[in-house]
Each structure stands twice: as structure tokens, then as C-alpha cells.
């Protein structure tokens, strides 16, 4: 196989990209939006996790202190 010939053929079909190519717009605003969205999403997740954890801890405490309430919880599940 002649690598040089293949290379020439490829470069004719797919010419190298302009080395000085630049983005058509300022990309930082989009990057900043993405950072802010991800931060907000992470914040929401942690709030939810905190609330969920507190609720679970409360339920476990209630069951430990009042074992008789277990059938009541099971009934409502």
C-alpha cells in the first residue's frame, strides 16, 4: 500500500482545516450559563437530599421511640 498516495487522496477529499479558524461567537457567555445551571442543579440536589435525610431520620426516631407505630406506618404505605 502506498501511504503517500493514500495521504494525497485523503487531503484532496478532506482538505486540512484552516489553522487560524476561530469560533463564530464569544463562547464564554454560554460557558458561564452552563456553569450557573450546573451549580443551581447541584444546589437543588443537596437541598432535596438534606430534606429527605431529615425526614428519614425523623421517621426512624419515631419508630425507635414508639415501636407500636410500625403497623400504622405499614398500613399507610
Amino acid at each position: 500500500m502506498n501511504i503517500d498516495r493514500m495521504k494525497k487522496l485523503l487531503q484532496q477529499a478532506l482538505p486540512p482545516v484552516d489553522a487560524e479558524a476561530e469560533p463564530g461567537r464569544d463562547l464564554w457567555p454560554a460557558m458561564k450559563r452552563r456553569l450557573d445551571e450546573k451549580s443551581a442543579a447541584q444546589g437543588a440536589y443537596f437541598n432535596w437530599a438534606w430534606f429527605d435525610g431529615a425526614l428519614a431520620a425523623g421517621l426512624v426516631g419515631l419508630v425507635v421511640l414508639f415501636p407500636a407505630s410500625i403497623p400504622v406506618f405499614l398500613y399507610y404505605l
Binding site: 500500500m1 502506498n2 501511504i3 498516495r5 493514500m6 495521504k7 494525497k8 487522496l9 485523503l10 487531503q11 484532496q12 477529499a13 478532506l14 482538505p15 486540512p16 482545516v17 484552516d18 489553522a19 487560524e20 479558524a21 476561530e22 469560533p23 463564530g24 461567537r25 463562547l27 464564554w28 454560554a30 460557558m31 458561564k32 452552563r34 456553569l35 450546573k38
Partner: protein
């Protein structure tokens, strides 16, 4: 490395968004250009530049300032571009037109007709993404093999092997299409 640059890199390592912005503005053109070489689609390259910097920011704690930012960013950008190529391959959306979208006018060889070029682009688009990305950078863009190896996270020998395999698959595909390179 200058003190100011070193300070920015250290701040980035600690997760500073101000440092990220400084690095983004300084390196976005290089990262965009590198991605564009691989995906050959300006809109996708813009999106992937943002995706790459997002990955870069997520990995800030693993960054080693002594190794320099550009090479590290290029490696992450290459990975993002490779993921994009894989997705496009899975979606079967990578057409010959997309591949040739940013093609600059070249000095046409009269022996290479439009039909041969079209079939070559088609055959190239059918290569496995790992081989295509290596051949794009090393053969079409003529980047130094050491640079390609660093960007792909493989050895120079592995780059040579991938280029050879890509050329062999390409030749076989072209022969099936009735073209003898």
C-alpha cells in the same frame, strides 16, 4: 512559567471560576481549532469547546500546574470530540457532506475526480472513530505524531499502528467501491 500565569493555574486547581474564565479566554481558540480539525463542523466544534471546558472545570482538582494547561486541555477536548464522533456514528448521521463541511478549497488534482473524492469521504466516515480521529490528526492535518499521541493518551507507536490500520481499511473500502488507490 510567569508568576501571573502560575497564580491563575493554581487558583484554577482550587476551583476558581475567575481563573477558569481567564484560561477559557486564553485557550478557547486553540481548543476550538483542535476540535474543529477532528469534527470538521463549526457548530459542533463550538458546542464541544464548551463541553471540553466544562469537563476541564470538573477535573480541576486533578490538574497538575507543572504539566501546563494546553496539553491537558487538548487531551480532554480530544476525548470530548471522540465521544461526539461515536455518538454521530451510532446515530448514523455523519454524512459525507458533514465531514466535508469546512473543507477549504484545495488545489485540485485533475486525476482525482469529484466522484473519487466523494467515495473517499464516504469510506473515511465509515472508519471506526478511534482510527478516524488518529488519521485525521496525523495524516490529513499532518500534526506531529508525538502531539497526536499526547492528545489521544497513547504511545507514538500506537499512533503509527492506528494510521496503518486506518489506511488499510480505507484502501479496502475504496477497492470495494471500484477505486484502486
Amino acid at each position: 512559567m510567569q508568576n501571573g500565569e502560575s497564580k491563575v493555574l493554581n487558583q484554577f486547581r482550587l476551583g476558581s471560576q475567575e481563573a477558569l474564565e481567564a484560561l477559557f479566554r486564553q485557550h478557547q481558540r486553540v481548543v476550538y481549532g483542535w476540535i474543529l480539525r477532528i469534527v470538521r463542523n463549526p457548530e459542533a466544534a463550538e458546542d464541544l469547546t464548551i463541553e471540553s471546558f466544562w469537563r476541564i472545570y470538573r477535573a480541576h482538582a486533578r490538574f497538575e500546574p507543572a504539566q501546563g494547561f494546553e496539553g491537558w486541555a487538548r487531551r480532554i477536548a480530544t476525548r470530548a470530540a471522540l465521544d461526539w464522533l461515536r455518538t454521530k456514528r451510532a446515530e448514523n448521521e455523519l454524512s459525507a457532506e458533514t465531514l466535508a463541511e469546512v473543507a477549504a478549497p484545495a488545489e485540485a488534482d485533475p486525476a482525482v475526480t469529484a466522484e473519487i473524492r466523494r467515495k473517499t469521504v464516504l469510506a473515511f466516515s465509515r472508519l471506526p472513530p478511534k482510527l478516524r480521529i488518529t488519521a485525521t490528526l496525523a495524516v490529513i492535518e499532518e500534526r506531529p505524531q508525538k502531539e497526536v499521541a499526547a492528545a489521544l493518551g497513547i504511545s507514538v507507536a500506537a499512533v503509527k499502528v492506528r494510521v496503518f490500520r486506518a489506511m488499510r481499511l480505507l484502501r479496502k473500502d475504496l477497492e470495494r467501491q471500484g477505486i484502486t488507490p
